[in-house]
Amino acid sequence: MNHRGKVLLTKIGLDAHDRGSRIVATYLRDAGMEVIYTGPWQQIPDVVNLADQEDVDVIGISSLATDHALVPGLIQALREAGLGHIRVVVGGIVPNAEADELIQAGVARIFHPGASRESIVQEVEALAAEARTTIEQDHQA
């Protein structure tokens, strides 16, 4: 069976609103992807270990308030754990100035409110494929 992409949708930080993640989870599922969904208030070290055990390709962080400020720390922790191939995307409300900072920190894509279902699905699928290719190159090494 084909590997269409495995995605971890999670929330770090204090905000409890996870309706957005639930909706995106169904988009990705309906596009054939396998989605691990954790709910809010996850700790960064736990997210890293979970992503590792589940061998995910993409992590999606939903942020409506200030949670996105923690994402550079997550990316750093992933790299330190040797999981730099995992693509990290952020969905939700991110002010423009901070969006630039996130991209610099290594966030692959930010989905702002109103991002279409098609664009979310297509881009996450493409990022998952990229992450997979990186791993396969590792195997050859």
């Binding site: 054939g32 396998e34 969904y37 070290p45 195997h139 090494a141």
Partner: protein, 256 residues
């Protein structure tokens, strides 16, 4: 690493070595290969050493939402206190239309994510009926080879009897919710024949006693020559009754 002729085989050997050492990333990557039914996955399985002893596999089945994942979470805590290393494989259904899946069992097990003595993996059923995925026996073999003492498998929870689990698990735990009444009657034919332990979870409900008695009396009807099947009550959210469940599971696991 240099790309010499034997590079690929050496990388496979190294991977198998790391799996046997219990290295989580290597186990995780290998499971993906097995799930995707790749040639590399097959090679990994072929190179795994013969196990010293058979895997102790505990199957957890029961209707949707009865508390399977929450009970596994409490069981992990109990088994870790007894210094056992625990592997958990939780199966959730794939959409028959898209092939995709939302795997939500881990929500209930979040506190064990960073314990190196615990390995948890979500698996999508990928078109397999019967509450498991097609590759489950191979994934079990792999995680067993990685040195986990006890493997817990959570079935999809279709509301039907997930009897396929009895082919891969040697200890089968069936969960019931209090107050099922007629539904228990309907389940009688299937699950009572194959379960080794019956558990009424959500025992914080006032209907618990009635359901326990009902299960006991259905077991009694089977006659005295049948093997003994314990009937336990648990509250998965508080851990009540879970130590006794762990005792029964370990009794059975060691007597197999």
């Amino acid at each position: 690493m240099s790309a010499v002729d034997t590079g690929r085989d050496r990388s496979l050997e190294a991977l198998v070595e790391r799996i046997v050492d219990g290295h989580p990333r290597s186990i995780a990557r290998a499971i993906t290969e097995i799930e995707d039914q790749t040639a590399r996955g097959e090679s990994i399985l072929q190179q795994l050493p013969e196990p010293d002893q058979p895997a102790a596999v505990v199957g957890i089945t029961g209707p949707p939402g009865v508390g399977k994942s929450t009970l596994i979470n409490a069981l992990i805590t109990e088994l870790r206190a007894r210094e056992l290393r625990v592997g958990v494989l939780s199966v959730d259904p794939s959409s028959p239309v898209s092939g995709g899946a939302v795997l939500g069992d881990r929500i209930r097990m979040a506190r064990h994510a960073s314990d190196p003595g615990v390995f948890i993996r979500s698996l999508a059923s990928r078109g397999q009926i019967g509450g498991l995925c097609r590759t489950i026996d191979r994934v079990i073999r792999l995680v067993h080879a990685a040195g986990f003492d006890l493997l817990i498998v959570e079935t999809v929870g279709t509301g039907q009897v997930d009897v396929a689990i009895t082919e891969v698990a040697n200890t089968n735990v069936a969960l019931f919710a209090p107050g099922l009444g007629d539904e228990i009657q309907a389940l009688k034919a299937g699950i009572l024949e194959v379960a080794d332990i019956l558990v009424v979870n959500r025992a914080d409900s006032p209907h618990t006693r009635g359901t326990l008695l009902e299960l006991e009396s259905m077991l009694a009807l089977r006659g005295t020559e049948q093997r003994r099947v314990p009937v336990l009550a648990t509250i998965a959210t508080t851990g009540e009754g879970v130590a006794e469940l762990a005792d029964r599971i370990l009794d059975l696991a060691s007597s197999d």
